[in-house]
Structure formats: structure tokens, C-alpha cells
């Protein structure tokens, strides 16, 4: 057993586990390892093998026990997300990926299975720096996105389809099982960045004509974007006011695409320089 420290937005954790578990946890969080022992640890996690089970504990309390080390790491991942959400203070938390594009942070927001992770992946593969996957935190006063760096969780069929058309050259692919991979981007941004753009992907395999980016006004997007926000800490009206402040200063596009090539084309059109 060994203890490592992982730094996340507004939270540092210790993780004590055997090498088999740590190795898997680093597939999820390759960017979060803290050098040396931090001054303060928010939560202490342990993953220990007990007979046929892997038992995950948090601050001395058992969270869950699972049949494999991978499953135990999934439990850990889920609880880390919940803990970060608890620790976020006055930041907005959005269901979104994020990359640093030429003029600021670009959020990729949407419901599950809308294509936000795959769009984030394409942007990284086009040369932009990765900032967030699944959850993006925004300081609504400064209008800055704070990186939450974890690897992208993708369907293996998607990665196989991408590889059939383009090389995967800006990150490493780790196969977790026959249907699931984690993609670890090489280029990351660790500092906060002012929000400039919000993309809302929509995959429509049956769509006719060219892929398109439809510009949305803050008013047209407000209620939809509120649906992508995690439950507010300070009440709904506070959330509405903060979101309005954030939306007013950025470009918003709904991108409608049929397939991988279509999605790339539209992203290159929107953000030309890194893809050159």
C-alpha cells in the first residue's frame, strides 16, 4: 500500500491503495498528482482488497465494495466528482467539457450522449489545450473557467471509427474494457481562462446538407443552459443571475453534424488556427 495525493479544483485528496489500484486511478487522473505531501487534505480515500472484494473507504467510512479494482476506481471517481461539487463554493458547475481555444475557454455543453465528450476530443485532436471533461467550473465574477483535468471517457466504437478516418495523435488511448476507453490528452491547460465560446453539439446522422454552426443569443440559450448547470448552492435566482452574466460575454453556437468528418469540418471553420 502507498499513499498518493491528488489535487483537484478547491480540493486535495489522499489515496492509499496498492499498485494495482493506483495504476488504474492514474489512468483517470494523470494530471492531478501532487508533488509531496500537501498542507491540507480534504478527504482521505483508501482502496483495500478484502477477500474477493475491493473496499473503498472515505475518511474512515466504507463507501462501497466491488468485485474488481477497475470498479473500485469507478466508485472513487464518482465520489471525487461529488466531493468536488460540494467543495466548489460560489463557482458555477456545468455539465460540459472545455478546451482553451485562441481567444479563451470554449465550453462544450450538453446533455448526456449529445456529443460533448466527442466534440471535446475533436478539439483536442485539432491541437487545442484540454481543460475539462464532464464538469466545468466557472468563476462567474471573473468569468473564468477553472480546469478539472481528468481523462475523457469514450466509447471504443467511436475511437475505432475516428482511427478509420484520422490519426489519433494528440493523446493516448487506454482501453479499460472491450467497449470503453479513456483518452488522455497531451496538451493541457492548468490555469484558469476567461470564457469566450460555448458550443452545444447535436449529432443528427440523418441531417441533410452541410454541417452548420447556428449562432444563439444569450436569451435564446438561457433556459437550455440552466438545464446543464448542477444544482445551485445559493438558490435558483442567484444561479439565473450568474448564468446571465456569463452568457452575455460569449459567443454561443449550436453545432449540428452528421458524423465525425462533419464535426471536424465545422470545428476547423470555427477555430481555424490550431488545426493548420
Amino acid at each position: 500500500m502507498r499513499t498518493v495525493y491528488l489535487a483537484f479544483p478547491r480540493m486535495t485528496i489522499s489515496l492509499t491503495a496498492g499498485e494495482e489500484v493506483l495504476e488504474k486511478a492514474f489512468v483517470f487522473y494523470p494530471f492531478s498528482q501532487s508533488e509531496g505531501k500537501p498542507l491540507f487534505v480534504t478527504h482521505a480515500y483508501r482502496v483495500e482488497r478484502e477477500e474477493q472484494k475491493w473496499v473503498v473507504t472515505k475518511d474512515g467510512e466504507v463507501l462501497d465494495s466491488r468485485a474488481s479494482a477497475w470498479e473500485a476506481v469507478f466508485v472513487l471517481e464518482y465520489d471525487i466528482e461529488l466531493s468536488i461539487l460540494e467543495q466548489r463554493g460560489d463557482w458555477l458547475a456545468i455539465h460540459a467539457g472545455c478546451v482553451a481555444v485562441a481567444d479563451g475557454a470554449c465550453l462544450v455543453a450538453g446533455n448526456p450522449d449529445s456529443g460533448k465528450t466527442t466534440t471535446t476530443f475533436h478539439l483536442v485532436e485539432l491541437g487545442w489545450k484540454f481543460m475539462c471533461e464532464e464538469i466545468a467550473f466557472i468563476d462567474s465574477e471573473k468569468k473564468e473557467v477553472h480546469p478539472f483535468l481528468q481523462t475523457l471517457s469514450l466509447d471504443k466504437r467511436f475511437i475505432d471509427a475516428v482511427k478509420g478516418k484520422f490519426p489519433v495523435r494528440r493523446g493516448k488511448v487506454h482501453e479499460l474494457n472491450p467497449s470503453l476507453v479513456r483518452y488522455s490528452p497531451e496538451l493541457i491547460r492548468e490555469e484558469p481562462l476567461r470564457l469566450s465560446t460555448i458550443l452545444v453539439p447535436k449529432r443528427e446522422p440523418e441531417a441533410e446538407g452541410e454541417a452548420e454552426a447556428v449562432s444563439l443569443s444569450p436569451g435564446a440559450f438561457l433556459t437550455e443552459f440552466l438545464g446543464y448547470c448542477f444544482e445551485p448552492r445559493e438558490g435558483m435566482e442567484d444561479l439565473v443571475d450568474r448564468v446571465i452574466g456569463v452568457l452575455e460575454d460569449c459567443r454561443i453556437y449550436r453545432i449540428v453534424y452528421r458524423d465525425i468528418s462533419d464535426c471536424r469540418r465545422i470545428l476547423i471553420r470555427l477555430f481555424p488556427s490550431a488545426s493548420a
Binding site: 443569443s217 440552466l226 452575455e248
Partner: protein
């Protein structure tokens, strides 16, 4: 709804400006609704008690639309406004 019914803002909705649009936030429903320009004009006109026919005149004057279409849209809008709690029937 009768031709003598007066409508007025309920006092429950707060107006928020979102870019060039207006939204109404209703605290007891924890909900926000973005209004188009005509809907906001109707809401504004209800800051004091106002009759349906008077509202039709206001909209006709501002938008220059056809009266029958205005009446149909207005009926629908008032129905929504009452349901969302933006307005009430004045006593």
C-alpha cells in the same frame, strides 16, 4: 375571460435582462421564462390593470399587425402568463 376582465402584473415575477432579450423569473416556481419582444410589450402594458381590448390596441399600434391574428395570439399569451404566475386578474 370576459371583455370586462382587467389583467395586471402579479408582482411575483422579476424582470431580468439577457442580452437584447427580457426574461421573467418567478421565485415561487423557481423558473425563468425568456420573452420575445411582443410578449414583453404585453407584460409591460400590464403594469397597470388593463382590458383585453386595450391590450389589442397597444399591440396593434406598436406592431401594426392584423387584428384577428393579434387577438388569437394575445389570448394564448394571457393564458400562458396566468399559468406561469406573471399576471393575475385584477380585482
Amino acid at each position: 375571460m370576459t371583455k370586462d376582465t382587467y389583467y395586471v402584473q402579479s408582482g411575483k415575477a422579476k424582470v431580468k435582462t439577457v442580452g437584447n432579450d427580457k426574461a421573467l423569473y418567478v421565485g415561487d416556481q423557481q423558473a425563468v421564462h425568456v420573452l420575445n419582444q411582443t410578449a414583453y410589450l404585453i407584460y409591460e402594458a400590464m403594469s397597470e390593470p388593463i382590458l383585453f381590448d386595450e391590450l389589442v390596441d397597444v399591440i396593434k399600434e406598436v406592431t401594426g399587425g392584423e387584428e384577428q391574428a393579434i387577438r388569437e395570439d394575445l389570448e394564448e399569451t394571457i393564458d400562458l402568463f396566468l399559468r406561469y404566475g406573471f399576471i393575475k386578474i385584477a380585482e
